[in-house]
Subunit: 306 residues, 2 copies
């Protein structure tokens, strides 16, 4: 799947992933009203609203970008109906040819980690049947529990040709509280990055990149530069561009010389573009067109540095 | 909710939580067969099997222990039907008077963390309605992203009188890979423990304990001793007893002098007791009775050290 992701990045010349984080407040009024009219102001109604919104976004951007990254929390908050919308969104995106990165940030150990791995990336055994559940192409994973948490994912990735992105240095202001603390003179995130590189060697794709990627926030470019060197064969998923303050100029160090090695995420900057002054002329009813224009602008912006 | 948890621990004289981690292989054949006959060898069939199994366990132990800890991964692996079984299990346990600790180990930032918090512990706004989704009493949370990930949970906890358990030192063999690394001469888990104590001060219950608990594995008693001192007002959730190798004698340092301050988890040691030689006489058809006896034995075992 890392090979397919890189192939699509090359074909579209767009190292861009659109974050499908459909907060209800991003969903235009008419879509919410319609969903609530059909299903009431219920979890089902909310799930229907975000699903219809996602569909509009995906239809508008699916020929421009290689991948989407649904943030499961935005679905999980609506309980079981929300999880059904998550699954439906994944299926629809894959049908549209998009690579799907499930931003689940799961992390546990042994058989529990295995359960997450099979549930999100693999197949679960039920009697004589081998069934897939959420079936994303990639999942994000938390490293705090060490190798015991990662190995079950590696096994599933190798078997299913899928991948993970391990949190290394996150984009948020307080990410340094633990991640930046110095251990033998070097910050924790570097040690995690080294481990990601090691895990990655056990699961290499055919094009020189590993199934094991890393998450490194756009908001810390100096650290991104160091991590790029520590993890040369790792695809870096970069959150924090746009709304969180990361700029294209800062992102050059995240890429390798082959123009690959990083994929930059934008969520509300694209899906809620119609709410920005810059794209206000589209109006809420053309939220998809606004998202498309924002995606085109982001792709153009990233071309300036590659 | 921390006050209610402590009250139930006192009433039952049992600082015990039963982990509801229903792997299909723990579910006796006849229950699996019945579920598959009704719903096929499908995700729905698997979800029905684990729900029926859980019901049997909960009925057998609900008057003995204060709390249960469903491990969401074991449900999530069966997709949307699995999540429905998770929700049904939570509702049933609460109806039976049990405190429910959702072992979800979620961890993200800002609005995403908030979505997890409202989805698992609070209420989500849908139009004019304020709705609850999974509605556990406690949730486990990963600290790797720092305060940005924890604060949204604190806000929901304060509002809803619910709680979290933050991963500090996990019970698995590789937990030391990052958690034990020395920062200014002290291991990372101590720094996380100090932060847990600080976060906890912002959300104190009435009985001297905080809504913010910590996870510290039974398999590292020396570290448990240190962490007990660093976090005097923190309830420690202790995994790793029994099947993972932790013994009662090792657990004394996790408790405060008031006999509170820790709650010890056992999962397969109780729910799959019928598979152990010690409880084999019950037979798979009486898996609930075997679980009850195992819970009684664990409670007696822990009395030797308190």
């Amino acid at each position: 799947m890392i090979d397919r992701l890189n192939q699509r990045i090359r074909e579209l010349d767009a190292p861009v992933v659109v974050g499908l984080d459909p907060m209800l407040k991003y969903v235009p009024e008419p879509i919410q009203k319609q969903a609530f009219a059909e299903q009431g102001e219920t979890l089902e109604g909310a799930a229907e609203a975000i699903w219809q919104f996602n569909k509009g976004i995906v239809d508008a951007i699916c020929d421009l970008v290689p991948a989407v990254k649904p943030q499961v929390a935005m679905y999980e908050q609506f309980g079981v109906p929300g999880m059904a919308a998550y699954q439906k969104t994944i299926g629809y995106c894959k049908q549209k040819g998009l690579v799907v990165i499930g931003d689940v940030k799961r992390g546990d150990i042994g058989s529990t980690s295995e359960a997450y791995a099979v549930g999100h990336l693999g197949h679960v055994q039920v009697g004589s049947q081998s069934l897939s559940a959420f079936d994303e192409d990639f999942a994000t994973v938390n490293p705090y529990l060490g190798s015991d948490g990662i190995r079950p994912f590696l096994e599933v990735c190798q078997k299913e040709k899928k991948g993970i992105f391990v949190l290394v240095k996150t984009s948020n202001p307080s990410s340094g509280e633990f991640q930046d603390r110095l251990i033998d003179g070097r910050p924790l995130y570097e040690w995690v990055g080294e481990q990601v590189a090691r895990w990655g060697q056990e699961a290499m794709g055919e094009g020189g990149y590993s199934y094991v990627g890393a998450v490194v926030g756009a908001t810390y470019p100096e650290m991104g530069k160091v991590l790029r060197k520590i993890m040369p064969k790792t695809c870096i998923l970069v959150p924090g561009y746009g709304a969180q303050g990361g700029k294209a100029a800062d992102l050059a160090p995240y890429f390798n010389e082959d123009g690959l090695g990083a994929i930059v995420n934008s969520s509300r900057g694209i899906i809620a573009a119609y709410k920005q002054e810059k794209y206000a002329q589209f109006g809420p009813e053309h939220f998809g067109d606004a998202a498309r224009q924002a995606a085109l602008d982001m792709i153009a912006d990233l071309k300036t540095i590659r």
